[in-house]
């Protein structure tokens, strides 16, 4: 199956769901599930077929010659894990919003528009096209949050969109700089990567592109949209946000900023590393102080994205491998955590305030254990994907000449902090009697997980385990593609 199918399926899904009558929520969700699963299957098929090097399923049609834009699609080892995680999260997002009734047709229209945009970014081999998809992914988020969201949804939605858009404005400026600097009249990655870019240009353009993309990756100090956005978003949207949209930024940083501007990357890498470590530590510490369960997960996302950024800043093969792996890993785990907190637990307790939870371990044992597993995965317990990823990142950072040892130590401290807040919050949520009074929450057992929830959890947790146990499944595929980038980095003077 051709990789473009993911894209086409998503937009077709958006159209199909959008045109269905609003009242038929049942039919709509099955249609949505069908489209999402087909997308996942396509992505899986691509993954199985991928030979391990080069660009697969490449197509290249002329589009707007006067702007140098082409319809160039294709995927390599870097996009592959991200395609997979997008497919996974898209399916699970549908599963975890199984009960959605209100304006279901519109919901899935926006949802699939977002998913399609994400697929598009990962598949684009042309920067203009990439940017187009990048922006396509911006707007649906607004509506997803503003219509179906929760806490301070207007504020959060607007903030998120404006941050994203401001980031993409920077990206656009950077792209134009790249285009005119390369003087090759093209936006295709292929040709731009062969163009010679002067060092001063790279020094200027790199921060534009990197910061522009990193806004979406939740880089400190531009991360503030992330917690509020994640918290306000409806479950499926926050899963997508945490699972894949943040990866869009990181992917852009890697693919465009680092991949095309090696000299710029080398100059700015120490700064990026510093910010990344701030992300890790700051995110973890703030998560520790949160009382709203969803905010905890939100800040943990910020912290985890710090590892991605740190991996990127290493500019070494190991570190970049770790970064991509972490993108996958956090995509899966972050989505699972948001799903559990936002949908599974919230739909039963109707609160997300930790002090109102009352001995949940006894009252929803299965869910609690699933969450504990997910939490362990999140803090990087060996056997889960997070472990492999963070290990790679830290190893890469240690080897990297651009990341100082002190920062690596700090990042290590951040790992400890992650352990800390995860355990503390698990305790607060599940093993602690109610602290705040006044909650009218009933005593006794909650309903068990529904089939859809079980399927979703199984999918996400399973894939995390699978990659955790056999990281080479993914790492092997990405080595060749990453090596290209690393080689360019090493060659660039």
């Amino acid at each position: 199956m051709h990789a473009l199918l993911t894209l086409i399926l998503s937009f077709a899904g958006a159209l199909a769901c959008g045109l269905m009558p609003a009242g038929r929520a049942r039919q709509i969700r099955w249609v949505a599930l069908a489209f999402a699963s087909l997308g996942l299957l396509t992505a899986l098929h691509c993954a199985l077929r991928y030979g391990g090097s080069g660009v697969a399923d490449e197509v290249d049609w002329p589009w707007i010659p006067s702007l140098g834009a082409r319809l160039a699609f294709g995927y390599d080892g870097i996009s592959l894990p991200l395609l997979l995680v997008t497919g996974l999260v898209a399916v699970c997002g549908v599963l975890f919003t199984w009960e959605l009734k209100e304006r279901a047709n519109e919901f899935y229209a926006y949802y699939f528009a977002l998913v399609g945009g994400v697929y598009g970014v990962f598949l684009s081999r042309d920067l203009f096209l990439l940017f187009v998809f990048y922006e396509i992914a911006v707007v649906p988020k607004y509506f997803l949050i503003a219509i179906w969201g929760g806490t301070r949804k207007d504020y959060a939605a607007m903030k998120l969109v404006l941050y994203s858009f401001a980031g993409s404005a920077l990206v656009l400026l950077g792209l134009l700089g790249l285009y005119f600097g390369a003087n090759a009249s093209t936006f295709t990655l292929q040709e731009l990567s062969q163009a010679s870019l002067s060092a001063p240009l790279q020094y200027v353009v790199f921060p534009l592109l990197f910061v522009g993309f990193a806004v979406l990756a939740g880089m400190w100090p531009f991360h503030t949209w992330a917690p509020t956005g994640h918290v306000a978003a409806p479950t499926a949207a926050s899963m997508l946000l945490a699972g894949v949209v943040m990866k869009l930024g990181a992917y852009g940083c890697l693919r465009v900023a680092i991949g095309l501007l090696p000299l710029g990357a080398k100059v700015w890498a120490p700064w990026v590393a510093a910010l990344a470590v701030v992300n890790i530590v700051y995110g973890a510490l703030v998560a520790l102080r949160q009382t709203d369960f969803k905010f905890v997960i939100g800040y943990s996302s910020v912290s985890h994205m710090g590892f991605v950024l740190l991996g990127l800043a290493t500019l070494t093969q190991t570190g970049l491998t770790g970064a991509v792996l972490q993108m996958f890993s956090h995509g899966v785990i972050g989505a699972l955590l948001f799903a559990l907190v936002g949908a599974v637990i919230y739909s039963r307790t109707h609160t997300r305030q930790l002090e109102e939870f009352h001995l949940l371990i006894a009252r929803m044992p299965v869910i609690a254990w699933v969450f504990i597993l997910a939490g362990l995965a999140s803090m990087g317990l060996p056997g889960f994907s997070g472990f492999a990823a963070e290990l790679h990142v830290l190893m890469g950072a240690w080897q990297s000449p651009w990341v100082s040892a002190g920062l690596v130590v700090l990042a290590g401290a951040g790992v400890v902090a992650t352990f800390g807040y995860t355990l503390v919050k698990i305790h607060e949520a599940f093993f602690r009697p109610r602290v705040a009074s006044g909650s009218s929450d009933k005593e006794g057992l909650y309903e068990p997980m529904t089939a859809a929830e079980i399927a979703g959890c199984a999918l996400l947790l399973g894939s995390s385990l699978l990659v955790g146990l056999f990281p080479s499944l993914l790492t092997d595929k990405m080595q060749a593609s990453l090596k290209l980038i690393v080689d360019r980095l090493n060659e660039a003077r």
Binding site: L67, V139, L162, L201
Partner: protein, 495 residues
């Protein structure tokens, strides 16, 4: 002057003239004393068929290569593919406006006059688009403006409408005077009325006479008023708000198309410069850059504070004029194409947005605040979806045509100048400001969309939208989307 050829070339316009007499005649003779709604029905039918016939005549003419490369009377009537396209687009937009004119007027018993003035102003835009001659351009601009003044005051029952019309008229008259003085100075310096010859003459000058600078200053002021460029924009919000919405739509689109062509013509000495840094183009581009900067700032920041949808769109229009100038400052072929493309796509999307506002708020009987549109997703899902497309295009979100248009502008502005030592990015600071302002733009456009698509219970009962209106709305939406997905044919045509 070859009369026969000229008649052939003017066939679309003659069709429209005939049609407008038909409108007036039918109303005055056949329909005397009939019910207003019935008159509206028939006259609007005549008007739209007139425009369709005009469009067809234009399309037929475009098959004749002789008519597609025509220059009559020292640039008085120049037909090129691009100019023809603009003229026909104007007719098309007028066709949309015909469908938007409310058929149950609250106050005015005048029916055919509205359609006649609309047709006449469409003629004005058409002449403006096909003129390369200062005199004809001025007369055509007046033709257009006078119609707009009168149309603005259509709703005589409303004080605010009359006030806006008066304001528009006064400021517009002043701007015409500026334009005319500018034209006469330009003529005084160069002795030419043909814009191409004016430009050629300017390039033969060893040093620029100061009078030329004054002339361009006046011309910029004059056209600036028409395009609502800051600081000449003050009429726009009031007029957009208080004119009947259909008229506001026409002011925002048709007038803009024509004025842009005129501005491009006036800026020809910049475009014709042997290299982009001849003294005259330096003069012009720095002037344009300043205007672009303040237009973007005032337009976008002003729009943020508006509660009235039409005012917001007016400020958005001011901002878009700013973007337009950003694209123009580079004075390259790319920027010409970009400006033309942008203004076309802006006109389409803007017309769409206004059309929706017109159809929905028509029944409101007062100024529509943004909040009045809340819950449209529920009462009128189709309309709301179309509105989403139009507004996102205005906010330049890909893959809609507005994005390609704006990207083209920035692309043109950043193109490195031919003189290498000027360094990277001719106007990167301007583009940077424009990008920041685009973020602001998204903010207020989202605010509008929020009312339409996000919030609660409908404030308005569903509006019955006629088949014709649906057809034109969907046509606009398809154009907006298609030009975003596949802009190349149009770009090629504009080149």
């Amino acid at each position: 002057m070859d009369g026969h050829l000229m008649l052939n070339a003017l066939l679309p316009d003659l069709v429209v003239v005939a049609g407008l007499f038909l409108c007036l005649g039918a109303d005055y003779i056949l329909l005397r004393g009939r019910d207003v709604a019935e008159r509206h029905r028939l006259i609007s039918r005549i008007a739209s068929w007139t425009l369709i016939c005009g469009l067809l005549a234009g399309l037929l003419g475009s098959r004749d290569p002789q008519l597609l490369q025509l220059q009559i009377g020292d640039g008085q009537l120049v037909i090129t593919p691009v100019r023809l396209l603009f003229k026909l687009t104007a007719f098309l937009l007028a066709l949309v406006v015909v469908e938007l004119i409310p058929t149950r007027p609250a106050t005015s018993g005048h029916v055919s006059e509205q359609y006649a003035l609309l047709l006449l102003s469409a003629l004005g835009v058409g002449f403006l688009a096909t003129s390369h001659h200062l005199l004809v351009s001025f007369v055509a601009l007046e033709l257009l403006s006078l119609c707009l003044y009168a149309l603005t005051a259509l709703d005589m029952g409303r004080r605010a409408g009359a006030e806006a019309a008066l304001k528009y008229f006064a400021i517009g008259g002043l701007s015409s005077a500026f334009l005319l003085v500018g034209i006469s100075y330009l003529y005084g310096v160069t002795g030419q009325l043909n814009l191409g010859k004016v430009s050629a003459y300017i390039h033969t000058l060893q040093h620029l006479p100061p009078l030329l600078g004054v002339a361009f200053l006046f011309l910029l002021v004059g056209v600036g008023f028409k395009l609502a460029i800051v600081p000449f924009h003050l009429w726009a919000p009031d007029v957009y708000q208080n004119a009947p919405t259909a008229v506001a739509a026409w002011i925002a689109t048709g007038s803009k198309l024509g004025s842009t062509v005129l501005l491009l013509g006036l800026m020809l000495p910049g475009f014709d410069a042997p290299n982009a840094y001849s003294p005259v183009s330096r003069l012009l581009s720095s002037g344009l850059a300043v205007l672009a900067l303040i237009s973007m700032l005032v337009g976008n920041l002003g729009a943020m504070r508006q509660g009235n949808l039409k005012r917001l769109l007016a400020y958005g229009g001011v901002a878009s004029a700013g973007y337009l100038l950003v694209g123009m400052v580079a004075f390259s072929d790319a920027s010409r194409v970009a400006v033309l493309f942008y203004v076309l796509t802006y006109a389409l999307a803007s017309m769409g947005a206004f059309a929706v506002v017109a159809l929905v708020s028509d029944q409101l009987g007062r100024d529509a605040e943004i909040d009045d549109f809340r819950g449209c997703w529920k009462s009128m899902p189709g309309i709301a979806a179309l509105f989403l497309i139009f507004v996102l295009s205005l906010a330049s979100i890909p893959p809609l045509s507005g994005f390609i248009g704006k990207f083209g502008l920035f692309f043109a502005a950043l193109q490195p100048p031919p003189v290498p030592e000027e360094g990277f990015g001719g106007w990167s600071w301007l583009v940077a400001v424009a990008l920041i302002m685009s973020v602001v733009g998204l903010y207020y456009y989202l605010k509008v969309l929020r009312a339409f698509l996000v919030t609660g219970e409908p404030a308005l009962p569903p509006v019955r939208v006629g088949t014709n209106a649906w057809v034109v709305l969907v046509m606009l939406a398809v154009l907006v989307v298609a030009l975003g997905l596949w802009p190349e044919p149009l770009l090629e045509w504009l080149r």
